[in-house]
Symmetry: C2
Subunit: 227 residues, 2 copies
DNA sequence: CCAAAAGTGTTATGGATACACCCATGA
DNA sequence: TCATGGGTGTATCCATAACACTTTTGG
């Protein structure tokens, strides 16, 4: 460790991998850059860190700026620091991923040309953003099996089918309907409502809600989510 | 994303959580600061990022500076950016952890008052270094069950007992001897040597080596380490 | 009455865990 | 010969995986 003064500095940025779910597909929110470098190409939404904010603050600000959303699930992933990752300036970037439910809040800031892409149909991205997305996916898969983050991607009320489809998309594999429902019910962290979703079938399917209070109680009693 | 010019800058540092194993205990290498702030207190070894190096480079440089070691297992953990985490200057720090085998290479750079502490007997550290260590431990536990990192902490030749003790220390729980050996043997990634360690008992116990080549082959054939 | 999705339990399998005795050797 | 740590196999249990038919209701 050396003296603080006269240390070399670099720019520090955050980039957000914004995942969304529209009851069918896992998607990612990208913006079309209207400035150089790489103008016209797709990229993650990002921004520079300000002196009076933490990286978490910066990520929250960037996400809010684009989507208007607050209180979104976000998690820091890691720092990227290749010397030439940004051709303009030496910039180190810390990536964050966010999970949001698409249909309920889709008032995107018109200042940016933002668009939702199915996760497997996303275009090539600038700089090292493709790697960031790949790493985010792998973290998302891991998290999905250790914390009930799936519910962040769903509306307040959702059907078992939607929940299963979400997990299938995240994990990238088909799941058995009965085993999935048995497992979820065994966790005992859902509330079954009286309401039914009549849009999906003639019979209709019950809506469930995530019981955050019960979950928190169970966790503090030593329960650990495992799917 | 805004213009690059006139962005606010912060100092960017790396801090290394250096884990070691001396065939009995999991230890951590700390230095006693001989400069302000917090002179005389224990801390992680760290350093500022230079403009012409990546964060990985910086972590490797810092580790090498203290221990003289090269080709050490290191992994980036995460960035810490609380506004007041460093009282002198606004500094964002990226933590790395390293795994080294203690006895074989213990020529520490005398310029630093460095000392190995048992992981559970380490002193209070400056700034947010306690949190960094706690997070590193939890990552170490996770990694130990998904990748064969344990071998980084052992000498080239080691006994089953040493390997088991290492895993017990990392995981923080006693393991059954027969089950552990069965599991390790089932993985089929060790080479049993003809040599015996005669220091530990009258009967002596066989030395094993990690078969890196076999492991790599198995991994590229779809094998995943799981303990 | 038919099509389409919802809802519901049991069996089989395999991995994880618990467990105790003999062996080799130096002193 | 004895004390010390090394080395070895099997039975049980539990969690996971496989699997098919009935229900509801709008058209």
């Amino acid at each position: 460790m050396e003296d603080y003064k006269d240390q070399e500095t670099v720019l520090l940025a955050v980039d957000c991998i914004i995942f969304g779910f529209d009851k069918k597909n896992l998607k990612i929110l990208l913006i079309k850059r209207d400035f150089e470098p790489e103008k016209g190409h797709w990229s993650l939404m990002g921004g520079f860190l300000k002196r009076n904010e933490t990286l978490d603050d910066a990520a929250i600000r960037v996400l809010n700026h684009l989507t208007g959303l607050e209180n979104v699930y976000m998690e820091q992933l890691r720092a990227y620091s290749a010397l030439d990752r940004d051709p303009v300036e030496r910039t180190v970037s810390v990536s964050y991923y966010a999970l949001i439910d698409i249909p309920e809040h889709s008032a995107l800031n018109g200042r940016f040309s933002a668009k939702w892409f199915n996760i497997n149909e996303a275009p090539d991205l600038i700089f090292d953003h493709n790697v960031m997305v790949a790493n985010a996916m792998s973290r998302l898969r891991y998290r999905a099996s250790t914390k009930p983050i799936g519910f962040e991607l769903l509306p307040e009320k959702f059907t078992m089918k939607q929940l299963q489809t979400l997990y299938e998309t995240i994990l990238g594999e088909k799941l058995d309907k009965r085993n999935f429902i048995n497992k979820i019910n065994a966790l005992d962290i859902l509330l079954k409502t009286e309401e039914k979703d009549m849009k999906s079938s003639r019979k209709g399917s019950y809506f469930y809600m995530f019981d955050q209070v019960k979950y928190n109680t169970k966790v503090s009693d030593g329960f650990t989510f495992k799917l």
